[in-house]
Amino acid sequence: MSDTTKNEYIQHKSRRKFLKGLAAGVGLIAMPGKDASASVWEEFFQKHFRELSKDELKVVIGRLEKEYSKKFAKQVTVKTTPPIEGVLYGYGLDLSRCIGCRRCVYACVKENNQSRDPQIHWIRVLQLDKEKGVDLSHAEHYYNPEKVPEKGHFYMPVQCQQCEKPPCTKVCPVQATWKENDGIVVVDYNWCIGCRYCMAACPYGARHFNWGKPGLPVAEMNPVTHYLGNRPRPKGVVEKCTFCIQRTREQPGRYPACEEICPVGARKFGNLLDPNSEIRYLIENKRVFKLKDDLNTQPKFFYFYAT
């Protein structure tokens, strides 16, 4: 045991040495402007989230909290709450109840600090024909009537399905995205190189790229954040739904914002490992299906018909 820690220590040391050399080299090519502080370099050389020691993590979080608090003129916290033992999150969505009001879409944007301009939505609600059933090729993405639901239609919100076998994490060339023990697929925004291979791999359109600088109004910024979730993102990285990791991992936990806002109770959330949970009851007693089941991604997002 002590051997491995020693090895790791040596590895880290040599890595640091290399990075120092690299810093000198890169510095020559791209000198940051005069206003650039030491934090630019700290950010540049920041290690992968899962490789940070406790002390290093503290420094990183301190730097981020300082940076965000200054930028958004309020006390911003960046949590790193780990998964809870014995918890595997699952989501249920009742297609017979959903009315397509898109309140979930906007509650999500607000909670998770998505860019308003350019607009990023982690949830996409599809309007489908009752006659055709769940047939995506006839889905209407930009329906905009006075009132929903419209006659002859039903609605299907799609967001990250938190796959048990996520194709997106498999393809990432730098392991910037991975599945946590509680089943949530997360992204380290400080490690993502922005190649967008994960977006090509995702069968659900659940991954979104910051094509431009995120436009997040200071007044609307939610200051309660998680490192792997809703903290402000830089441009040029991929982001996605995390089942509101900043809420659901707390003890006592809170429901995801989309679940909380739903006016018709179409959204259900819970622990798949708890035999008494509502989500387990639904899976066992209702007609359930998973989107694109044939791709064997094994989503933990279950569509069902309660009535």
Partner: protein, 430 residues
């Protein structure tokens, strides 16, 4: 060490010398490169929002060009195999030019990938041990490995041979032959891995077809040689380098076979899609017919089809293959045809319709076009510089001087219209 420095210093002197045409050409490329660089600065400042890519179509013109250039790079083996495996003289004389083309093409590939990513400064995340390369899980990680291996192999082989010729030594074939042999599977691997990169995605039925790798290889063995032949014809015309007709004929013949296989595989793909007529037909329909009134790629793909079929016949029929004019036309047709088919024609329909069946029509923005132009200019610039050194060395016009330190430069002009016997204007120069 001293020798290496002298060689390097000599090449620097050499590339600064040349005819007016050479200077104009290099200046022209430098201007295009500067335009491309300024487009890149603009993109770095604003983000990739200055491209036409969006979440629905998350890869576009850059990755299309990247994919095509991988094919051009891989095609160098078409010279390497006859030259080194079969020891066929006429091609062996200039196989090193093919290797240098591979080097230039890989440089372009790496540039196209670099400009496509959101955080290029985080490139070090890809370096094993220092960063966290997701090898062997991610095929992009594989691509990083094989592309760089191929680049290093070709650089090593060509520089080793040229360096020895410069010092009037026979290159040691015990050293370079194993490397050359290794470069053959390596060339196949860059194309296979790039195809797998698309192929392995269940989310994209348009790419998720097991025929994709052979299609990639077949089209690479058309477009790469087409590009090479065009360059060799120019080299033959404007430099002192001689390339035998039979060598060019041989490459053209290989292209005819490759194009046949390419068209056959495409036909097989189209049959399967149209006959089974499942929901996965949508992307093919978008490409060839248009889908729900969206048909941006339709004129392009049909142009490509016509070009490819025409070129196939031009290379198949010995008379048109041997005629320099129809040969050039054929090469241009193949080059353009495969550029469309294996570039935008392969990448974009993978995203249209997107995974939730939304149709977002993509066509490259001005920034994307300018930047891509800059990268093409960079590739040509690199190749021009490499040829500026390699051709005089192969012609024995550039070698170490008798004092063993300085260089002898016999070819001061480099780019200059040669005097072909059959052309009438050769009379004036006498």
């Amino acid at each position: 060490m001293k020798n290496i420095w002298n060689f390097f210093a000599g090449t620097l002197v050499l590339i600064s010398k040349g005819s007016k045409a050479y200077y104009c050409w290099v200046l022209f490329l430098l201007v295009l490169m500067a335009i491309g660089a300024s487009a890149y600065v603009h993109q770095l400042n604003e983000g990739l929002i200055v491209t036409a890519m969006r979440d629905q179509v998350s890869w576009g013109f850059y990755i299309s060009n990247f994919t095509f250039m991988v094919g051009v790079a891989a095609a160098a083996v078409l010279l390497v195999i006859p030259a080194y495996v079969y020891g066929w003289g006429p091609i062996k004389e200039f196989a090193v030019l093919g290797e240098l083309l591979a080097v230039s093409a890989i440089v372009m590939c790496l540039l196209f990938v670099t400009v496509d990513i959101g955080h290029p400064e985080r490139f070090w995340h890809l370096i094993p041990k220092i960063g966290l390369l997701n090898f062997p899980q991610s095929l992009l990680a594989w691509d990083v490995v094989v592309l760089n291996t191929y680049l290093v192999l070709n650089l090593t082989i060509s520089i080793y041979i040229l360096y020895n010729l410069y010092y009037k030594r026979e290159p040691n074939h015990h050293f370079y032959t194993p490397l050359v042999l290794l470069s053959i599977p390596s060339a196949i691997s860059i194309h296979t891995v790039t195809a797998f990169l698309y192929n392995g995605l269940g989310a994209r039925p348009f790419w998720n077809s097991s025929i994709l790798v052979p299609r990639f290889l077949a089209s690479a063995f058309c477009s790469g040689p087409a590009f090479m032949l065009l360059i060799f014809l120019l080299v033959r015309k404007y430099t002192k380098f001689k390339i035998k007709d039979e060598a060019i004929q041989k490459v053209a013949e290989i292209m005819a076979y490759a194009m046949f296989i390419n068209l056959l595989l495409l036909g097989a793909e189209l049959f399967k899609e149209y006959y089974t007529d499942t929901i996965h037909l949508a992307s093919v329909q978008y490409l060839f017919q248009g889908l729900h009134g969206h048909s941006a790629l339709v004129p392009y793909i049909w142009t490509a089809m016509i070009f490819n079929v025409t070129a196939f016949f031009l290379f198949l029929i010995p008379a048109t293959r041997r005629n320099n004019i129809t040969l050039v036309i054929g090469c241009i047709l193949v080059f353009v045809g495969v550029y469309i088919e294996k570039g935008m024609g392969l990448v974009i329909p993978g995203f249209i319709p997107d995974t939730l069946h939304e149709i977002y029509e993509y066509s490259p923005s001005g920034t994307e076009l300018l930047l891509a132009m800059g990268i093409w200019a960079t590739g040509l610039f690199v190749y021009t510089m490499l040829l500026r050194v390699a051709i005089p060395i192969l012609n024995r016009d550039f070698h170490v001087a008798d004092d063993g330190v300085g260089s002898y430069i016999g070819d001061q002009m480099f780019l200059i219209q040669q005097k072909p016997e059959e052309e009438p204007e050769s009379v004036e120069t006498h």
